[in-house]
């Protein structure tokens, strides 16, 4: 036992049916530091944290927290001991208010459990004030965007006043601005002596915020290093076990005629007068702050929430799209931003999740060609390096990043002419990220028209031939690859500078 450490996890092993998720893993976190936990998708990061908070019991191993051995049998116990967690999978209670969600299980109350409603709201307001978050405590969770939901989760974890806060990919669903905000919060927490375990796939966050980093690979402990002494390449090698060429191979692709043109699309309260064009072989990025309406535009074009007015042309012909089925018929595909809500079929196998859009292709006279399905899924699963014991594994048992990969596989299999990708690399590790970028480039090369919405500016800048910027439901600008810089995009996205061109 060491007094410097707030947490020591020693020789932790955990096996699931078919998967050894953790094999003799250790993790030691110093008091008042931010400790990064890194590794590829499926390395076992979330599992280790779930063991710490008491969701899973380890098969073997020891946990020493704050000087005493932690026997966590229930989550309540961990929370009481001073550990809280921001979970990777957002899990709000949709029909309850923000305040009720945050203080669930800890409502201020009189005798007989009578809840002090006013105080509940007041406490939430104060918490938000302190964290400078602007969300109505009385709003229903179901009315919030993903980003706001994420902010509520962050606020919730902090509200426990814990000694140790686990943050499992807290920045995967929020934009730069909120990330900075979160970092500010983390720094002040650190000053109060709070320790933080920080899981991320974003390399640059490491230097910005963390003190030390522990790397897992394949369920095994690889090592712990000081954050400022390790280079990006070294870190990647620890994670992946090899050197990784991390450069995007953005190739020159000849951009041809327009495949999709959107004209004056309006949806009351969501966005107005959106026009843009995507051409064959072109990758168009849409940038904007959270809530700027990017997702709504994609959903509208794709027929999920059809627009109130405006026109859509596909290959020069006017298209009527009232439902996703129509959109798919016009050769479109959409990877949605909320994988759990609108993407995954949790009770089904990885394979069944991949083939949903394309079943028709495999059906001959109603019957399915199992062999072909198997082959195609296997090919994609290898191409995307989906970590799963088999294609028949239920997708709910996969790690977050691997679930995301399976969803990407679904749309790759469909091979659409026009592909919309809403936050395509959410929760995806560095190695796989560059694989996916290369896949996107390959698609462009094959003459597909691609639209990418991303909150990661480097991603947008690296991928796009052209960048559309939105602010407050309006298109505030369109930048060519050459014109685009982080600063320029931020200007347009915050609405500080309204351009005349458009």
């Amino acid at each position: 036992m060491n007094k410097d450490y707030v947490l020591e996890m020693i020789n932790i092993t955990k096996e699931f049916p078919g998967v050894k998720a953790l094999d003799n893993v250790q993790l030691k976190v110093k008091k008042g530091t931010v400790h990064a936990l890194m590794g590829e998708n499926g390395a076992g990061k979330s599992t280790l944290m779930k063991i710490l908070i008491g969701i899973y019991t380890p098969d073997s191993g020891k946990i020493i927290f704050d000087g005493e051995e932690l026997k966590v049998s229930a989550i309540k116990n961990a929370l009481d001991k001073g550990i809280s967690m921001i979970h990777q999978e957002l899990s709000p209670i949709p029909n309850m208010t923000v305040a009720e969600n945050i203080f669930l299980g800890r409502e201020p109350s009189y005798k007989f459990g009578w809840v002090k409603a006013k105080e509940l709201e007041e406490k939430t307001r104060k918490l938000f004030e302190k964290l400078e978050i602007d969300i109505d405590p009385k709003a229903k969770m179901s009315e919030l965007s993903i980003a706001n939901t994420q902010m509520v989760e962050i606020a919730k974890a902090i509200s426990y006043n814990s000694k140790l806060i686990i943050m499992d990919e807290p920045t995967s669903a929020i934009t730069e601005k909120e990330v900075h905000h979160l970092f500010k919060i983390i720094r002040s927490l650190k000053q109060e002596g709070v320790s933080i375990i920080y899981i991320t796939h974003k390399m640059d966050e490491l230097a910005q915020i963390t003190d030390e980093v522990t790397v897992l690979r394949d369920g095994k402990y690889i090592g712990t290093k000081s954050s400022d002494q390790i280079t990006k390449d070294e870190l990647i090698e620890m994670m992946v076990g090899r050197e990784l060429n991390q450069i995007f191979h953005k190739q020159r692709v000849e951009i041809k005629e327009a495949v999709l043109s959107v004209k004056d699309l309006c949806k009351n309260g969501k966005f107005e007068n959106i026009s843009f064009e995507v051409r064959k072989g072109e990758i168009v990025g849409i940038a904007g702050l959270m809530g700027s309406g990017r997702t709504e535009v994609l959903e509208s074009v794709f027929g999920i929430n059809p627009s109130d007015s405006g026109e859509i042309y596909v290959h020069g012909e006017k298209a009527t799209i009232r439902s996703p089925r129509d959109a798919i018929r016009y050769g479109m595909g959409l990877l949605t931003e909320d994988r759990k809500l609108t993407g995954l079929f949790l009770p089904l196998s990885v394979q069944d999740n991949i083939i949903t859009v394309t079943i028709e292709q495999y059906a001959k006279g109603g019957f399915l060609n199992e062999k072909k399905i198997q082959e195609d899924c296997q090919r994609l699963s290898e191409q995307l390096a989906i970590k799963t014991p088999s294609l028949q594994q239920l997708i709910k048992y996969l790690s977050g990043g691997n679930q995301q990969k399976a969803l990407i596989a679904r749309w790759l299999l469909q091979d659409p002419d026009i592909l919309f990708l809403d936050e395509p690399t959410r929760g995806i590790d560095v190695g796989a990220k560059s694989e996916i970028y290369n896949l996107i480039f390959d698609l462009a090369k094959k003459g597909k028209a691609i639209v990418v919405v991303s909150s990661e500016l480097p991603e947008i800048l690296g991928l796009s031939d052209r960048i559309i910027v939105m602010h407050d439901g309006k298109k505030t600008g369109e930048l060519s690859r050459e014109e685009a810089t982080q600063e320029r995009i931020m200007e347009l996205a915050t609405g500080e500078l309204v351009t005349s061109g458009s």
């Binding site: 969701i55 989550i75 209670i93 949709p94 029909n95 309850m96 299980g105 109350s109 602007d134 609405g495």
Partner: protein, 332 residues
């Protein structure tokens, strides 16, 4: 910081922009079924001159009080994504057991009441414990209880009704205070208590949380098992209460009582807006749902609609009512 402000503005703006429209929608959403109930009452009043009299209206509420009380318990169960199929059989079991302690000059009237309530509670706690601890689907557990409790009721009474009940016991079902029948008073009381429980207490928050997202509730450290046992226990308790009222009202413990009451109760809850997917439902809605069923039953009897046609019409009315309600929500 400017950007922050702009976002705030947008939210504020959009909030006020829709507020009046939204308010109407909220009201319709919240009170849609109530309006359908009122429409049904107006319709029936036109069709039958005896329908809209104090006597008949009290009559309807009294008749629905047994199913209504059960429906309130079932509503809470359904909010947690559960189901309770055992209510009707528990009514029968409580009915015969309570009746056997309610003969004149044996025990004071509160003995059969306490025994009945205790028995109802017990069945509910058994349901809840098996559901939460053994993690078996509520449908199966309460179906098992439905079958078993009916068997137990028949066994206990040897299949026969148990009569000769004391007058003080009969007061629960047949008496009136200030002209209001006791069952209605109990029904109202249960409604108010359950409303408070569900809306003002931690228990209520946890019920909605468990139904809205059980995983999230577990992660927040809510003792989900305990609250599930509470919830089924409460439903069992209310079934017991319903059994006592019914027994007292018909002056007889009946092993065959309550057949299909669980379906009526679930229907009342669902008509009243409770979602079988969990997380959504209100006591007020369920009471309205129960009254819609009551008005329909009473009205069709008053109009002398042939029983065969009654069944057909009931099926249609329920579907149409829910349909109209869903339309209203969508349009506004």
């Amino acid at each position: 910081m400017n950007s922050q402000v702009s976002i705030v503005n947008k939210q504020e703006k959009s909030k006020s922009a829709v507020s009046s429209k939204e308010r109407v929608s909220r009201i319709l959403h919240k009170y849609g079924m109530l309006m359908i109930l009122i429409a049904l009452i107006i319709l029936m009043s036109f069709l039958s001159p005896t329908f809209f009299t104090t006597g008949n209206l009290l009559n309807i509420v009294r008749q629905m009080s047994v199913v209504g009380i059960v429906a309130i318990g079932v509503t809470i169960v359904i909010i947690t994504t559960g189901i309770d199929l055992s209510s009707g059989s528990v009514i029968a079991l409580v009915s015969v057991v309570a009746a056997s302690f309610a003969h004149p000059d044996t025990y004071p009237f509160f003995v059969p009441i306490l025994i009945g309530l205790g028995l109802g509670l017990l069945t509910g706690v058994i349901n809840g414990t098996i559901i939460s601890k053994a993690k078996i689907a509520p449908f199966i557990v309460t179906l098992g209880m439905m079958t078993a409790a009916r068997g137990a009721a028949l066994l206990f009474s040897d299949g026969r009704p148990i009569g000769n009940l004391s007058d003080s016991f009969k007061f629960i079902g047949q008496g009136a205070v200030f002209g209001i029948p006791v069952p209605i008073i109990i029904f109202a009381f249960v409604g108010v208590v359950s409303y408070i429980l569900l809306n003002k207490t931690k228990f209520g928050k946890y019920v909605y949380a468990i139904g809205g997202n059980e995983q999230a509730a577990i992660i927040a450290g809510v003792n989900v098992d305990k609250y599930k046992i509470f919830v089924y226990g409460y439903a069992g308790l209310l079934s017991g209460l319903a059994g006592i009222i019914l027994t007292s009202r018909i002056s007889s413990g009946q092993p065959t009582a309550g057949v299909m009451y669980e379906l009526d109760a679930i229907a009342a809850a669902v008509i009243g807006g409770t979602s079988l997917a969990g997380g959504i439902g209100t006591i007020g809605g369920t009471i309205v749902g129960a009254l819609i069923i009551g008005v329909m039953n009473n009205g069709l009897d008053l109009l002398n609609v042939s029983p065969y046609w009654q069944q057909i019409l009931k099926g249609v009315i329920i579907t149409v009512a829910v349909f109209i309600d869903s339309r209203k929500n969508r349009k506004s």
